[in-house]
Symmetry: C2
Subunit: 342 residues, 2 copies
DNA sequence: GTGAAAGCGCTAACAT
DNA sequence: ATGTTAGCGCTTTCAC
């Protein structure tokens, strides 16, 4: 039922939104004066300012960002192409907060770890003429970004490097993180440590697996390790886990290469979680609620996000500056699962 | 170091991005013809189409969304003002997917549960002249939305109703959900059931607390209940929990009013989790990994998101249609914690 | 089907 | 300090 209450305007012909010209007319000043007042370009006579203020109030005028952006050439907006905007994403949070502080709006789009979606997101950002792009790269090759970069679009990659183009990049210290975890387990007395990680074709999967091998070499007199990298899939995780535990000399500790793998392993261990030491790469919400609490290598997501914005700003300010890659350290957070004796 | 490689264009003066006029010139056709070809407004001669395609390719032209939106008056974009875009948000995901399917782009902004931030987000959406707004309301009063609604902006609220304005709304069946949980516990034989929930000044906190009271009345011969609603704060949770357990006839089961409270309670119970039956309102990631698994009342987030987009579309198609509120059912997911005997 | 002109709402250059 | 004029890049009349 439609009522003709004062609360509702439904059904009435929609009044055209007021424009800056309407404000100027209402205030009895020139359009340009309104613009100057609104943008603070120059000081405006106090009486004029008052009339403009009142006119804006009366008409309930709001500037049209589209027109403003079109005319001025800048959007004060940067795009963030991330895996999934609907999942928890501490980096995105930091990007958003840092950008806000700099007076920039962040528009985030999901890539769903899909090359096609990533390109769609980037294209959409370019068509909106955003001032820059922050990307968590998924595509095999980012050559498609080259024309955009050449036409002056600042691009910053994080988490993984973008391949085929030279862009500013923020990465976690993947190798250092694995070393932290490995040495922690060695210190607890573990000598047979297994690794289950992500597909090695993925950058972080590769880095972490390589780092694990390096750790094995460095500690070779003490530790024997097993690596089972590959796609994250329950069956594969189960198989890897089985091999690690059914070995004549079974693993006494497991290192997992990312949060999804960690969760999959815990799920697989079921009631046996806590019977074998476990350290996961990546912290996640509620990891402390598990019994035992999950020991993890935490990435510096907040710093990664902040750095991404810093790099964007530096690039925007000086397009000719050399491309830079920043590595953000990781930290070990002991919560119990990594402190179990062999 | 700046190198003059073919990969990099840094330092060169930025070539102006090509415009549609450039494409027209390159193709040797009128501007209007390019526009028609690009938008499929009308059929364009095949030879012309070819030349335009080639010209677009050559110049690597991409339409300027700002100009297009300014001129056409529509943005094909809707804003989503949600608590936090960086936390997991299943509703936002569904909103995004549904909108994509309808050819709309969703721009999500965080309100951080802050009135000021909510208004900032809404203002930003209006200034961008988005086609509609999906909002998870936090403000005490949403009267400030009225002018926008009057000027034809479709607004859809979800999770909580917007106060002071009449807008299409999607809500969870909060009362039904509490009843589901309560009756489940009664069926397990519990007769003393405690409730710890959110601040009653918050809509969902209120609804769920009221529903709990109704359940108590309906089962009064069987169950005695305790309610301890208030802000989510570890000390308060601890106190509430203490009272429930130190009663002469202590509670044998607890019902929590939302995910944050559930997590706070589990954290507080520590090793005692599993010694008392617990059902939480709201499902969350990893709830199944706890020992025992957490029994929850799950909201239909995907349906809420889809419905929000449906309501938006209906409103956009017919601004005079009556305002509608849709209630989405909840489901009980037993995982162990709610199936413990008294 | 195609083309010329107007204009979306605003800011940037010049006047004054 | 204020007003006038142009024009951002596109879509939309309206002629042909």
């Amino acid at each position: 039922m439609v009522r003709a209450g004062s609360l509702s305007n439904h059904g009435r012909p929609q009044p055209r939104r007021p424009t800056m010209a309407d404000v100027a007319r209402e205030a009895g000043v020139a359009l340009r004066t309104v613009s100057r007042f609104v943008n603070g370009d120059a000081t405006v006579g106090e009486d004029f300012a008052d009339r403009i203020r009142r006119a804006i109030e009366t008409l309930d005028w709001q500037p049209d960002e589209r027109a403003r952006q079109l005319r001025s050439g800048r959007t004060r907006t940067i795009g963030a192409a991330v895996r999934n905007i609907s999942d928890a994403h501490p980096v995105l949070r930091a990007v958003d907060e840092s950008a806000r502080a700099a007076g920039l709006t962040v528009v985030a789009m999901s890539t769903e770890d899909d090359e096609e979606r990533e390109r769609e997101a980037v294209v959409s950002m370019c068509r909106r003429r955003m001032d820059g792009i922050i990307i968590e790269p998924i595509a095999e090759n980012h050559g498609y970004l080259q024309p955009e970069i050449d036409s002056g679009m600042p691009v910053v990659a994080f988490d993984r490097p973008a391949t085929g183009v030279e862009v500013d990049t923020v990465l976690s210290d993947n190798r250092g993180g694995i070393a932290l975890a490995f040495e922690h387990l060695v210190r607890q007395g573990h000598r047979r440590i297994g690794y289950i990680g992500d597909d090695e074709r993925i950058y972080t999967g590769h880095e972490r697996a390589v780092a694990f091998h390096e750790c094995l070499r460095a500690h070779c007199s003490a530790a024997t390790g097993m690596v089972h990298p590959g796609p994250i899939d329950p069956a594969r995780i189960a198989a890897a886990l089985n091999r690690l535990r059914s070995d004549p000399e079974p693993a006494t500790a497991i290192l997992t290469g990312n949060a999804s793998t960690t969760v999959a392993v815990i799920r697989q261990l079921g009631g046996d979680f806590g019977s074998i030491a476990l350290v996961g790469f990546d912290d996640f919400a509620l990891a402390d609620l598990l019994r035992p609490g999950l020991t993890v290598v935490a990435q510096g997501e907040a710093e990664i996000g902040r750095t991404a914005i810093d790099l964007f700003q530096a690039r925007a300010a000086d397009p000719s500056r050399p491309v830079q890659t920043v590595t953000v350290p990781t930290t070990l957070i002991p919560r119990g699962s990594g402190e179990l004796a062999p």
